[in-house]
Assembly symmetry: C2
Homo-oligomer: 410 residues x 2
Amino acid sequence: MSLIVQKYGGTSVGSIQRIRNVAARAVAAQRAGNQVVVTVSAMSGETNRLVALVDELSGGNYSQREYDVVVATGEQVSTGLLAIAIESMGVPARSYQGWQVRFVTDGVHAKARILDVEADNIRRDLNEGRIVVVAGFQGVNDQNAVTTLGRGGSDTSAVALAAALQADFCDIYTDVDGVYTTDPRVVPKARKLERVSYEEMLEMASLGAKVLQTRSVELAKKYKVLSSLEEGTGTLLTEEDEVMEQVVVSAIAFNRDEAKITVLGVPDKPGIAASIFGTLADANINVDMIVQNISASSGDTDVTFTVAKGDFKQALAVLKDPVANMGARDVLGDPDIAKVSVVGVGMRSHSGVAQRMFKALSADGINIRMIYTSDIKISVVIDEKYMELAVRSLHQAFELDKDSGDRVRG
Amino acid sequence: MSLIVQKYGGTSVGSIQRIRNVAARAVAAQRAGNQVVVTVSAMSGETNRLVALVDELSGGNYSQREYDVVVATGEQVSTGLLAIAIESMGVPARSYQGWQVRFVTDGVHAKARILDVEADNIRRDLNEGRIVVVAGFQGVNDQNAVTTLGRGGSDTSAVALAAALQADFCDIYTDVDGVYTTDPRVVPKARKLERVSYEEMLEMASLGAKVLQTRSVELAKKYKVLSSLEEGTGTLLTEEDEVMEQVVVSAIAFNRDEAKITVLGVPDKPGIAASIFGTLADANINVDMIVQNISASSGDTDVTFTVAKGDFKQALAVLKDPVANMGARDVLGDPDIAKVSVVGVGMRSHSGVAQRMFKALSADGINIRMIYTSDIKISVVIDEKYMELAVRSLHQAFELDKDSGDRVRG
């Protein structure tokens, strides 16, 4: 008997009929001899409807504690409806909200991080033959207040739950039928990957940064990304192996949800970086890429970094005083940027990836604003208007439309 | 400094603008030097929308635990939005759901009864200068599952909270500007009562039977029913006094939400009533009026009682076997009935009320199907189609359109 965690996004539970389909899938998995936990998002459109109510009321200036109270109801409705749909098929079911599981998070409303998952009641229900339906995206902090996890939060909930329950499988159902070399809406020739390594997946937009933070993706044994709308094999998430390492680049990821900020003319003294990034951390603003250059002539420094577009204005506001105090020359911001990344575990052992990437972008006249590299990823920041062009250029440059065996090596 | 519990129904929070109005009222009460707790219902239409989702999915056959999970989200959204609206006016606020307060209830989903209110966190917030916003209608049972209180539940929440906090005032804001001698939509000449006794209020439809069950209405010092849409004096709920006792009948209440069931030819033996009503109690079906007649000729009995229309089919189903086992002749049901009641603390000391009531109904050709009397109330069951006619007849017969001083005495 295996324990399976299934996760369904908003589109998969977007109507009464689709909720019935999800219920049928969960029931089939149980009848095949498995214990089944289902994590669900809000019905598609519901979160936007709730956020619009908050915005209309507040003009965008609101308590994030109360924002979480409002938007968490979307997932709550999905769990109750799905449990009812499962029971109507003759299988006992029970729903749990974040505070009932419980998903203990830190206190950062609207983008909380999971600290602990207490899943004893879920184990008991599974042993009693129930299918358990869990609200994704939600948690509860040490003040007993509702928190939400931010974008991609329901994936995080599923992964954290799979880890806590030591699940054998974690199947992420979405409205696509697997993980692609890039978004097929941008590159029609994008190919579905049969397998992708955890690390590569973590670098891609579809699971997002939150999964990386929880670091729990490695703990569950076997992940799959599947379509909830049609049958198919999906994409298997696995440990990397030798075959994978021969593929230099597996996918092109992109993100237009970031903004760039540059602090100009920072005196080259100890403690300056701590002052900038400490200020942002105190305001619960996450920083993604950071690049720093020391000017040989003036002896001072330009520090450039990216934040989420939603945090852009607040970041500029909180930096104003500290930047003035440290004697920096100016702060510049640019929200009209995009990040494009090439991802692949194989690039560890292959040189020339960066060169080929920069050459492809240059050939299409795309200026690179920032460069950031990690073990299995090279990211560049470019003007947002060139994003689709850059993704298509790179997809072609790394021959991702071909089977990996047919590609040239970096 | 007084502690005020304000309660607002669904119409009062039915739009963003109305939520702002409620916030302004709460803030004004606090700025006048009071501590303020606000209990809210779901935005009007929201509970119906959620119930429709459940019905569409299940065809009416669903787990009441999960029904509660879905419908409780309506109040949750209201609390978050109202807290945001209050904070936008510069006063700190905090929302609480039933499980956070907490309202401990029994385990009967969809019509739970409040057993205990733990309001320490609310007291702390009040002392720190916050306005506290509490979800009406909700509780949590000893399994940590969400429960709802059934119709009129938000009134019950407000009253129970006022009692637990030993509030000085409990103001029930509604879409009418007070308590009337009967529903003005049925009798245009209905008059607003300046004062009404707790006991009379409890017998009337607008607060309903749940308040009676909690018995907590007497514990708060001063209740008022007020309009949230316009300024006004409302109706004060008070202890009864001599002036009130001189008014024989204060109001005509009615309820078309009941159905009548008759068990025919019940053997006149001990334990039979216990069998019938024990069966209904086990199914969590509340029984309202009970009438029993022993036939002098046959020595057996007809037992007639009323249940909520929503429980009608289930009541007939669960009674089938026990009724056959006890040797009763048949079970008859009639959902097309209405209950009409005359209410008044003065009828304790006045005779002739029943006679005048029956005479008025008879004069308009209305057949009485059942009669039930209590200390301050006489109720009759009639065919539903005559309900409005009966209410108008009785309102006129007891001269409720006139000031009490001008009325004839019973």
